[in-house]
């Protein structure tokens, strides 16, 4: 994480000749010095990749770019609480960065909502990507059980025993 203190600021270029009583404007700490390519992108700095935080909410890339603009999953039954798990043989092209991350997270059984939270991606985006991976047989979708009387009784008893 980058701290609040930007550290020693590189020496600014020669100050402009100011006329009269005009104040020289101090350098804006948000500006990226052109002579320091390492600071052009956070991941290029020594501190390594930066985690997303509140300040990154205005992402330049629109989230649904990751799904080719699709906002609905290929399979509508992928609910938010649906459990998915990666197949042992699962493998995708490494350039499908998010798909890889999903398979990585789903080495254990996880719900779609949890996958979205871990990847810090919008739920709608993750639903589409998960449905794709299920269709490709990279992920197994645990079938939803109907809410039978037996299951309802089991739920009630277990909640009571919490």
């Amino acid at each position: 994480m980058t701290g609040a203190d930007p550290g020693p600021w590189p020496p600014p270029p020669e100050p402009f000749e100011e006329e009269g009583d005009a104040q020289a404007r101090p350098p804006d700490p948000r500006m990226i010095p052109a002579w320091d390519p390492a600071s052009w992108h956070p991941s290029l700095t020594d501190e390594g990749p930066r985690h997303l935080d509140e300040a990154d909410e205005d992402l330049v890339i629109r989230p649904f770019l990751l799904t080719g603009g699709r906002t609905r999953p290929v399979e509508e039954t992928v609910r938010l609480e649906a459990q998915v798990v990666a197949r042992p043989s699962a493998a995708v092209d490494p350039v499908r960065f998010e798909a890889l991350q999903i398979l990585e997270a789903c080495r254990q059984v996880l719900s779609v909502a949890e996958v979205a939270a871990r990847l810090r991606l919008p739920l709608g985006v993750v639903r589409v990507l998960v449905a794709d991976l299920v269709a490709e047989q990279q992920l197994d979708l645990v079938e939803q059980q109907a809410l039978s009387v037996d299951l309802l009784e089991r739920i009630r008893d277990r909640v009571r025993a919490l």
């Binding site: 459990q83 939270a117 309802l152 009571r160």
Partner: protein, 195 residues
């Protein structure tokens, strides 16, 4: 289930929706009983939903994010209960269909200082015949009302259970969930004619 699962039984997941007005204590409620930190995920409002979401007054804004709280409770080794909080603001109601789809039931959290905040949730669940109950979150500064008075103010029938709770207290939250599961079960038994 697939052959590589560690568990013998397939994992079953069920969910309960926690709704109510903005700031009524949904996140606190979920956090009081969840085994994971209530996680905020985001759903996007894209250009496609502009007709649904009211974006008037936010000129030039075509996308935004919304935090959705959810929690998880492992009821046993193959049964997980998820709690999903609905977004508090009216303008995200289009997300409710996805949240409520397949839910066991719903809790409507109520703050007696702002009763009308929960009308929308009650209407929604009544319309879709989702089992729900009303849990009055008791704040210290809240004037206490008899539950019958609250029921009358809400205009809901006697078939909708109402109870008081303290969203910060695990035992109290658990009591609400027990009441809801009980209600869902009773309703189902009535449907199949066992009662």
């Amino acid at each position: 289930m697939s052959e590589h699962s560690d568990d013998d039984a397939p994992m079953i997941s069920v969910k309960i929706v926690i709704s109510g007005g903005f700031g009524v204590g949904k996140t606190t409620f979920i956090g009081a009983i969840s085994e994971i930190e209530p996680l905020a995920t985001e759903a996007e409002i894209t250009d496609q939903s502009v007709g649904v979401d009211d974006l008037r007054g936010v000129d030039g804004k075509t996308t935004t994010t919304v935090a959705l709280d959810f929690g998880r409770i492992s009821l046993d080794e193959s049964l997980r209960l998820y709690l999903f909080g609905t977004p508090g603001q009216d303008r995200f109601t289009f997300l409710w269909d996805d949240l409520v789809d397949g839910a066991l039931g719903a809790v409507v959290l109520l703050d007696t200082r702002r009763i009308d905040d929960c009308f929308m949730a009650i209407d929604y669940f009544e319309e879709r015949q989702v089992s729900f109950l009303v849990a009055v979150n008791v704040f210290e500064a809240t004037p206490r009302f008899e539950l019958d008075e609250v029921r009358e103010a809400l205009g809901i029938g006697a078939d909708v259970p109402m109870l008081e709770c303290d969203a910060r207290n695990r035992g109290s939250v658990k009591g609400v969930l027990v009441a809801l599961t009980e209600q869902v079960l009773v309703r189902r038994l009535a449907e199949v004619g066992a009662l």
